[in-house]
Symmetry: C2
Subunit: 428 residues, 2 copies
Amino acid sequence: MTPGPRPHVVIVGAGFGGINATKELMDGPFEITLIDRDNYHGFWPLLYQVATAGLGPEDIAHPVRGMFGERSNVHVRLGTVSDVDLDRQLVQVADEADLAYDYLILAAGSSTSDFGIPGVDDYAFPLKTLPDAVRLRNHVLSCFERADACPELVDSGLLTFVLAGGGPTGVELSGALTELIGQNLARDFPHLDVTKSSVVLVEMLDHLLGGFAPSSQAHALETLRAKGVDVRLNTAISALDADHVTFKDGSSVATMTTVWTAGIRANPLADMLDVAKGKGGAIEVTKELTLPGHPEVFVIGDLAATTDRHGKPLPQVAQVAIQGARHVGRTIKRRTTGRPTKPFRYHSHGMMATIGRRAAVAEIPGGLKLRGTLGWLSWLAVHLVFLVGFRNRIVVLVNWSWNYLTWDRAARVILKEDSTTPSGQHRA
Amino acid sequence: MTPGPRPHVVIVGAGFGGINATKELMDGPFEITLIDRDNYHGFWPLLYQVATAGLGPEDIAHPVRGMFGERSNVHVRLGTVSDVDLDRQLVQVADEADLAYDYLILAAGSSTSDFGIPGVDDYAFPLKTLPDAVRLRNHVLSCFERADACPELVDSGLLTFVLAGGGPTGVELSGALTELIGQNLARDFPHLDVTKSSVVLVEMLDHLLGGFAPSSQAHALETLRAKGVDVRLNTAISALDADHVTFKDGSSVATMTTVWTAGIRANPLADMLDVAKGKGGAIEVTKELTLPGHPEVFVIGDLAATTDRHGKPLPQVAQVAIQGARHVGRTIKRRTTGRPTKPFRYHSHGMMATIGRRAAVAEIPGGLKLRGTLGWLSWLAVHLVFLVGFRNRIVVLVNWSWNYLTWDRAARVILKEDSTTPSGQHRA
């Protein structure tokens, strides 16, 4: 897999970090192997829209091979990395021959953490992958179908949706879910008292959107409450059960749906490596984003414990992964041509979160803050521009226009995972 | 569930028959309950495009409640009919209270039949539902991923796709699959010898597209062969296994994928009823599409054994279900107002099947036959017009334009059914 003298770069993960590192390097004298457990790049900032029936899963997924298929020096591999041998410079992919690397870029992202809270693993809905989003959509729609058939179950919390975590995902999901219920499901279920449904957003701290300016946090809180979201600040979850969630103060809420967006930790890949870890299990890196003692191994994005000049951890957002990827790509190119390398410096392009129809908060570097319709439009524009794949952009734009003009969310489809046809099919 | 004196019409199935019967009756003095096992109406003529990554599943699905949500006399129910008591006029829905009806319209459609051939149930991929199409798409893409990792498996039939049945579904799928492989996957997998892949279309009779004119059948055969499809006429499958398919003459083909479009039989609902059945288990009906001896029970679409004036069975196509639905709706309205009813008469609007990019056969009543680009354009137009849901039409049009202009099929996404996140979640 290392043909001739061209250095072999192995990149683990086809998220924002992995695809941008590949793009940065693919025109250079490198053989690149890009490994991901899925055959697509998912645009996770729009995942909550799949979960709330505004978009279909294929709309925010782009086949990885479609990006690099015509580059003969890029080898895309579907697989899960089962081990990394840092000393022998080998990556082990499950069921396959080991891959020897000259440079390794680890960009495997993050996964959900249950913070050790009992019941989260068993009962919470994660929202980190496309199947997660489809499963949550199916579940929410099925709850309404069940409630329509047996309205007495509503008192048992069938239409109570608890979202744990007041970060951008929790805020965006709570706004979208409230609109799905109030605008679409209320019309779909005219014989059901949808006002008995509730969306509860639970946050441990005394503010939403940690990392945003206090005025944006306050605006998000106010907007969500005005929309009808039951926002509970300073509230910690102590346990989850099949039919209720219990808080630290001993109170509880009957619910059959808790979405867990509270905890993020580094991808399990980090646990395989015997290296220093920071907060959330993220890997400690040098100023060049390399593994200490292993200048040929780079770690970027959510997997890396990176900080800004003041030692403050960088946020776990796409821009950090993208900029890290470009920096690492340029570092490798500089090294192969004997040029000096530079430390990584993150330039914030701002932060934004949408709260619902014509409602968002956006903070642009320099202190400018946008809210309401203007913030929302800038959110739409930025996400359309960064969405990978021209077809996806058109289809998402069509869907957003449709949703906006008609108040419809057309993907209200319960797509069963198991076929109704008997089949003991073999799988590839 | 029968509020007041308004007759209660129970409609089983939200396919072409069920939704058109509902539309025909919803403005009249009726309470209507529409039951389906899914919460969406699927536009099955485009199912093969989901299986071949040209469209996403949500593009051809329309939420049933979205069609009738604002009609207070239409009650949509998600559920499976587990029994019908014809004498007491009750429909039993699994896990729920029985529904009493004044009129019953059975429009549950058809399912796959294995013709008693060993291995079909265990190893064949059906293509009747959206999950079927997604599973087939995942499987085909996964076969190429596996072949890319282990090219020696290609000789064991990993890239050989056998389609059983030369009807419209088999013809359309074989054309689309050949294009997916030759145009998209060949580019996606530059390191794989895609010419070793093959699509084998197996038909028991000596012609494809039974029911079409001989010249259309010959044209389809010629076009598919020119595209590279290995069409085998007069070939019957005798058994299926995990890694090969065996034919009646004793020969066999190594394959890990057999798609079963050969056998159709009435929905299992027909088996629950102790009534006379015709070909493929379809229910024998009177000229008014009622069950003999039960003028209050109507059977339409694939579930009914209907014939034309010459006693020839009507084809199992959308138009038969749609016209039957309208006729039955009008019959019920005529009866409630004491007007005389009329026998059902099917008016063929023609038949069409697409063979691939700018290739199709279309037969219009009066003897006009369209082929090639013209046939293809008329196929596109008819399917766009009949596709339910305005948003779906726009999104499908955008996708088709994209596919045509770029030769791309953007939904090449392996959407895993099981999440990578551990979860023993309860389901609604």
